[in-house]
Symmetry: C2
Subunit: 127 residues, 2 copies
DNA sequence: ACACGTGTATTAGTAACATAGTACACTATA
DNA sequence: TATAGTGTACTATGTTACTAATACACGTGT
């Protein structure tokens, strides 16, 4: 059961993103234990060192805490996890807006395009 | 006058993006001549071969046409340029929406977040 | 004490990117 | 025809980020 990765983006970033999303969606909660680097590496079909990089990054971001010999755990700091959600939201939104505006789209066009995609085109988006 | 580049993204992609945005914003029009690879390399502070890669990619995307000995020109095909605008718009929007939804945000939350960023927080966004 | 599972550190290899350099082919102009 | 400017192709080199392989250190349970 090997997971698939987008070849244009580093694997470790993709695993990191997956874990962050699991946290934000509530699939991983404060204090939950993450799989060991070796287990995660098996599941993901990558080298344990690649997973280690992910866990190191999670620790740097204060999303997880690692205990040598024990494993890595999602932080118990609920405020931090709440902040992660808000950070992800505002970063994704603001970089999207910045890109759109730099490309030359007006605020009205941006908003209407988002609304359309969200509520109108959902059923007809075959691709 | 050397342009700056974001170190986490390949230089050629950034130049490509800049040119596409200039087209979409109307700063470059159908039939306009692009600087020679040597001139653009000077302006951008990069190797001509890097610019050559950009122009090759522009041609592949049918955004520009190159004539050996003459230079590279934005395509005269207005329909293609219009399509480029729509493609950029829909790609940016749909990937944004996909990311937001995968992260766990609801359509309502997404739309409200975008509206806020566009219309309410503009003045107070100090960072 | 030993075995096992854990994280950690280090080294090696590789792909992608970027540069530098060079030479060729084409076009326009004097 | 010569010159200057254009794109094009190719080779060699260097750098960086990423990934894998391997071994070490720590913690827990028996």
């Amino acid at each position: 059961m090997v997971q698939s990765f987008n070849p244009t983006q580093p694997i470790y970033l993709q695993i990191l993103q997956r874990i962050c999303r699991q946290v934000v969606r509530g699939e991983l909660k404060a204090g939950d234990k993450l799989p060991s680097v070796r287990d995660m590496a098996l599941q993901a079909g990558v080298n344990p060192n690649t997973v280690q990089r992910v866990y190191t990054e999670l620790e740097r971001l204060e999303i997880a805490e690692t205990r040598r010999g024990l494993g890595s755990f999602i932080t118990e700091n609920e405020a931090r996890l709440k902040q992660l959600r808000e950070d992800l939201k505002s970063e994704q939104i603001s970089s999207f807006i910045a890109d759109m505006e730099e490309t030359g789209f007006s605020p009205e066009e941006i908003l209407e395009g988002v609304r359309k995609d969200l509520f109108n085109n959902k059923g007809g988006r075959g691709v």
